[in-house]
């Protein structure tokens, strides 16, 4: 299963490195979102800096939708999806691979966004260990739910509108927990983030497990 996952993730990441859609479109999109939040909340850093954790995670959530859509868009051409189904790879491995590739891309994006909130909103990045831990755990949860709903929506004509509607309410605990954990870290009290990291870990484990079980039937049906 893990070998298959590495194969699929490698394939997805190679496509992304060569096509640069993530770099050219999803990255700039996330930056635009950060700038728009700045415009919406005004130039006052006393307003922006305390809100930066929440704004960061909302930007990540919105980018995840694009990342997941991209992850399935590359399967929709040239019968790639049928190829994937007929490849004999373990469906659980395919799920882990696709989710893993999304995780890697999101972590790169989050690094850039973290620099963005530091520069634009004047957030002082402290408690690096908690910040990174939150990103890793939260992103696993996001990628698992996204990949799971992505395969549900991918074969459908209304996928662009259906995916966000399905995805965003489900990941609301990730937004909440990740924002609170970041708040604690940015406020200089990273020790108090522990409980929120637990929430993120439980969420990630539950949905990765659900994906491993449910992905096979969903891939067949699409």
């Amino acid at each position: 299963m893990l070998r298959d996952a590495v194969l699929v993730a490698g394939k997805d990441l190679r496509i992304e490195i060569r096509s640069r859609v993530g770099l050219n479109q999803i990255g700039p999109f996330a930056l635009a979102v950060l700038l728009l939040f700045g415009l919406a909340l005004g130039p006052d850093r006393r307003v922006l800096a305390p809100a930066s954790a929440g704004l960061f995670w909302v930007a990540v959530l919105l980018s995840t939708i694009l990342g997941v859509q991209r992850s399935y868009a590359i399967e929709s051409v040239d019968g790639a999806r049928d190829g994937l189904r007929l490849s004999g790879l373990d469906p659980a491995g395919i799920f882990l691979g696709k989710a893993g590739a999304v995780v890697v891309q999101l972590l790169v994006l989050e690094t850039a966004l973290a620099v963005g909130v530091a520069l634009l909103y004047g957030a002082r990045l402290s408690g690096a260990l908690v910040l990174i831990g939150t990103c890793v755990l939260g992103t696993f949860g996001l990628a698992a739910v996204g990949t799971l709903y992505g395969v549900v929506a991918s074969g459908l004509r209304i996928r662009e509108t259906l995916l966000p509607l399905l995805f965003l309410p489900v990941v609301s605990p990730v937004l909440l927990a990740a924002t609170k954990a970041w708040d604690e870290a940015l406020a200089g009290t990273p020790g108090r983030a522990g409980g929120w990291l637990d929430v993120l870990a439980v969420f990630a484990v539950l949905y990765v497990a659900t994906g491993i079980v449910a992905f096979g039937p969903l891939l067949e049906d699409g």
């Binding site: 549900v152 259906l162 509607l165 489900v170 605990p173 539950l206 949905y207 039937p217």
Partner: protein, 251 residues
């Protein structure tokens, strides 16, 4: 898997449904009458307390409906119990659940405005209910996506379970988020310093019973409608096939 062609419910089912409908109507009318005219106004909340007889029962029905929808989805996914009936039941119950969640939010808001001074507070129960509302609106949207029966049913059932897993995580994280806030007050009338006793307790109990009856009645009808829809789809397909065959013969 082909849709069932049983379109007309047996006489007994029809009678039972009618009895259920009349019972729910009588129950709701009695709740309204008791709630508005018989029970006394509350010492602290005055006439506002009358919302107690409809709001918690609505919330209860919403949660019951989601419970039934999740259970039915699970039974559909389980190979040994897989049946079209469970898919229809999940769909019917989910739909009624969304309606009652909407009613819960509206009635809660109407109650909250004079009590708390605002239409909305970020209370764990309220926030969870609002998130449940959008969560299951997504489920209904997923159900409405056309497709072959068992593909659609399996997709929807998995969607329902993904949503169901989320409910406790949402509730616990929101509760924790608002831990400094007051305890959930909506289902716990004692924190309003309202003493539920005598006629009030009976009316509240009647509210729960009659709203549950309304739920059962609505789900039964929604289920029957889904059955008829499936039957009509199958029939339409058969007619189209027959026409196509006739065309081929006529040539």
């Amino acid at each position: 898997m082909r849709a069932s062609t049983r379109t007309v419910p047996s006489e007994r089912v029809a009678v039972a449904l009618r009895v259920l409908g009349v019972a729910s109507l009588v129950g709701v009318v009695a709740t309204v009458w008791l709630g508005l005219f018989v029970t006394p106004p509350d010492e602290f909340m005055g006439n506002l307390v009358r919302l107690l007889y409809v709001h918690p029962p609505m919330a209860w029905v919403a949660f019951l409906a989601y419970g039934v929808a999740s259970l039915a989805s699970l039974l559909y996914l389980w190979p040994r119990t897989r049946s079209e009936r469970f898919d229809r039941l999940a769909g019917a119950s989910g739909e009624v659940g969304v309606v009652f969640t909407g009613l819960t939010l509206v009635s809660g808001s109407i109650w909250g405005r004079p009590t708390w001074g605002v239409w909305w507070v970020w209370d764990p129960l309220l926030t969870t209910t609002a998130l449940l509302f959008v969560l299951y609106l997504g489920y209904l949207a997923l159900r409405r996506v056309p497709g072959e029966f068992h593909v659609r049913a399996r997709r929807s059932a998995i969607g329902a379970l993904i949503a169901f897993i989320d409910v406790p995580i949402v509730y616990l994280s929101v509760e924790w988020w608002r831990s400094l806030h007051q305890a959930p007050t909506v289902l716990n009338p004692t924190t309003h310093k309202t003493y539920v006793h005598g006629s009030m307790a009976w009316t509240l109990l009647l509210g729960f019973v009659s709203f549950t009856l309304v739920y059962t009645w609505l789900v039964a009808h929604r289920y029957r409608l889904a059955e008829l829809q499936d039957a009509q789809d199958t029939e339409g397909l058969e007619i189209a096939l027959a026409e196509r065959r006739a065309e081929a013969v006529g040539r």
